[in-house]
Symmetry: C2
Subunit: 337 residues, 2 copies
């Protein structure tokens, strides 16, 4: 139990920062576990792993595990190792996502891959994935091994499903939700569910936290997919248009496609199916999305999942971390604004 | 306990076929488990998995698990699922091995990768790897989860180590042994060790079988690396020269390099370091290897590890499967002849 988490009040309006601040001691332990377990006598492994883990950003998944463990009064020392395992699974999927296909080598390449090569990215991903299972095995809970090995299989299936929908204009919104549920939300769900399981809470607590994580993850990914077309992000100097260049069928495109006239449909066919793109095309895509309020409608869809997350979270015991997990929902959806 | 395995006599001089025949009922159950667990609603997954698993060949690793379980009187039903897990880990590493690096795309590409693309190979590998851990978790032995998650991490480290030694003429024979111990022999060791652990045999039994598997695996890989330069294999229509084209520092090359004159050293530098290869170069490499008896010396090195495997195996109880595992050692080393 993290005494600090119960006593301190959130000091920031950004719930992610507030979570990091309340769970600072625990996050330090998680980071120490991450650094310790990505070490290897094979120098390229910590080199590449440090590069990608350092670039990994906000550590939202380990924070979810820590918060959900603390809310249910679970042993934080166990949560440290398992949070590191969750982050390793996430990092492995990031590395494997970046592997470039022969057919796609003309597009802008991702950093780790560009620097270290496809093979190193794949193998270091495998290493981190194995390490995740070593950490879970050392923890010794078969229940948690089941949650995270199930999530891992679902993630891989989601990624393969995404390959099949890419550049496919007949992709439905249901297909899209199924893809992001698997590729993103399953790990959010698992990260949250681990908390009450560590605490030995009952099944309904585990289900509620899994439900919170799943819907948070779906909302998170829809918002992410909207941001990839967001002019404001562009103005902030952030990279946008990755999904467009890759021909991914995301929520904004699906909303626009449903209302597309013949000319717009021809545009999406040329750019996403035939991958024949010119310099002005991203701006043109943004105009079309704007015409159909596609980003706004995407965020509205994200809010619907956010509402489901909120309802599930209400099952958890009253706790200042629960309030922050609640505040995290709108923050996740509207982080672009 | 497999009654059939105890009663039937080996009917073939090929110990691998004799093992398959004695363990036929069990291997059918393993194959059924493999087919069942590589299924997925995402069609590309069973497509690609079937392709690679079907091409996977002799199933030597699952046979080792089955034999070592049976020798110690372990529950064969458990061995079926765990043998499938071992084969999934092997298949995942095969798929990930085939991922082509940008820098190497000129060389002949491997089949699965060529047909399905880098990304699909990586993701289906991840799926099979996850499935392996789901199978182990369902089995419920933390001891076995430890053996196989440790082996998985070691394999990934070995593969990264190999990347670092490729095209590096200062690679020593010790470096090479370390690489193949990790990338190949660790999974052979784990596959064998699982048997006595299923049976609840004592630690010394598990160590002896791990030692047998480890040294068998080293011998297997050295022999494999010799075969890749073997003119007789070429005459049989089998692909040779893959390691040469990739610049891998394998036993035959290391034996030849140790005795290389200036001209030969220049040849290895041009072909393996600079990867500047012409049509006649593989034949030239074979001539140089022949000049230094490099294949013969490689097989002699393999025999040294085979002898260690034999000694470790002698610790196991007397059993007709033990006799076949013993016969498997020279067969593995001399399978090219």
């Amino acid at each position: 139990m993290n005494a600090q988490a119960v006593q301190t009040k959130p000091t920031s309006e950004n719930p992610l920062e507030a979570l990091s601040s309340l769970l600072e001691t625990d996050m330090k332990a998680v980071n120490a576990a991450i650094i310790k377990h990505m070490d290897s006598p094979v120098a390229l492994i910590p080199q590449l792993a440090t590069y990608i883990v350092a670039a990994g950003g906000k550590r939202i998944r380990p924070l979810l595990t820590l918060a959900c463990t603390s809310i249910y009064g679970g042993e934080m020392a166990r949560a440290h190792g398992l949070s590191a395992a969750v982050e390793f699974i996430h990092t492995a999927t990031l590395l494997h996502d970046d592997v470039v296909d022969e057919s796609e080598e003309r597009r802008g390449q991702k950093a780790a891959n560009l620097i270290f090569g496809n093979q190193a990215s794949v193998l270091v991903g495998d290493f981190l994935f194995s390490r995740a299972f070593q950490l879970m095995t050392a923890d010794g809970s078969l229940g948690i091994l089941k949650i995270l090995s199930d999530a891992s299989a679902i993630i891989a299936q989601g990624e393969v499903m995404q390959l099949a929908t890419t550049g496919n204009l007949s992709t439905t919104m249901d297909d899209y939700i199924e893809v992001i549920k698997a590729k993103t939300a399953a790990l959010f769900a698992a990260a949250c569910e681990v908390g009450p399981v560590i605490a030995g809470a009952d099944k309904s607590a585990a289900s509620a936290m899994a439900e919170y994580g799943l819907n948070m993850g779906i909302a998170f990914q829809i918002a992410d997919d909207a941001l990839d077309y967001d002019a404001d992000q562009d103005a902030l100097g952030k990279t946008i248009g990755d999904d467009f260049r890759e021909g991914k069928m995301t929520a904004p495109v699906l909303f626009a496609l449903a209302q597309a006239d013949e000319e717009e449909r021809a545009f999406w066919t040329r750019t996403l199916v035939e991958k024949n793109q010119q310099d002005r095309d991203l701006a043109q895509a943004q105009e079309i999305l704007n015409r159909h309020s596609a980003l706004k409608r995407s965020l509205k869809l994200a809010e619907e999942y956010g509402e489901k997350a909120r309802l599930a979270l209400a099952e958890a015991p009253d706790h200042n971390l629960r309030a922050l997990l609640d505040a995290l929902i709108p923050y996740t959806i509207h982080r672009g604004s």
